[in-house]
Subunit: 155 residues, 3 copies
């Protein structure tokens, strides 16, 4: 049965958890919808700077936030990025799938990835700054999906 | 169908997400129950100081925690309140409903707002310190509501 | 009906919320499964140091993370552990069940506690470092449990 996950967090550890659950469910033939809001939008940002019209404040937010899955920090013990680097290294040593690989797998498995348009307005993030293959929608769409699902998580 | 949201966080960004989802669901004619625990209780505090009997430690907690929706900080990039101020300014520029407006809308839409009595004891928050229109209950009430709902989020 | 809780957080306040909900549900005769991942594994660590083979990075992670329920900090206002100490003191004054007591109650009520094996690999935590009475499994097991439950929370 369908699962939905709101990815509110942009922390590497929480986003990893979200994608492990999402891919696990898709592998078990569940439909999965991931809804990216607030800091979670950073997961979907392209790694390179993309020109986009922004207000001064939006440009400041944009400059300070991580661009894409490779740049995310940990929610705890990040130590200016060192914690995230350490965790990625341990994961490699243990042959655990990395976040970028999990995102690719999610797309290949047909997991629906929706970027929250209201959050994009707040954060000043434009469509062209985000990776390909997304849908763009608001809370009503999320609620419609959640109504059809039997597991709904907020991460 | 009914939705429940546990508002554990007292961060502006997370509380905004909670109220956007709650109001969205109520607008779609869902019954909605919000259950405020721990830091989430700060959302419901009156802006002015209200006299209340507290132990020394409870008084300290009370003095350090934000009083009401206007004072909440961001979960990330708060920079001593500057981040929250910036986000509120961007939201105004983008004509996005503010948190105090969302709370009023929630009350007008008949969303049930419950303050967790156990958390109130831990935090030393008294009924008279909280806004009007709340119910006061514990985990059994939450579970009863959640059993009737098809979407249950912990934020 | 069954409830599942993913305990991702290792913060005292969030873990308290998880165990209050879990014990509340079990008291109402619900089956409950708690699935401990990432920082949540720290809740289950034995208080004493247990010899275990680890890589250098895993040993570093292990040394920096709290060992067991007594050592957890708050998600906010922890002030190097002082906040957690204050909260525990207030809880005692108010006769509120402590986290170690809630964990014992959970075990006595037959709540199923599963440690996430993938997270154990990432964090470098070995079975012998965790308390007795756990099951060890991955995301597929979690999803199987969640499919049978009507309330599924991510904390």
């Amino acid at each position: 049965m369908k699962k939905t996950i709101i990815v509110f967090s942009g922390d590497l550890d929480k986003v990893l958890a979200a994608f492990v659950i999402a891919n696990g469910a898709a592998a078990m033939d569940d439909e999965v919808t991931m809804f990216f809001t607030f800091w979670g939008l950073n997961v979907l940002r392209k790694a390179e700077k993309v020109p986009a019209k922004k207000s001064f404040l939006q440009a400041m937010f944009g400059a300070m936030m991580p661009r894409g899955a490779e740049q995310l920090g940990l929610s705890k013990m990040n130590f200016g990025g060192m914690g995230a680097k350490m965790m990625k290294k341990v994961m490699k040593q243990q042959n655990i799938t990395s976040l970028p690989e999990l995102i690719t797998a999610a797309q290949e498995q047909g997991i629906k990835m929706i970027a929250c348009t209201m959050s994009m307005d707040v954060m000043g993030i434009r469509e062209q700054e985000l990776v390909e293959g997304l849908e763009f929608a608001g809370v009503a769409t999320y609620l419609g999906e959640a109504d059809e699902a039997n597991v709904n998580l907020f991460i």
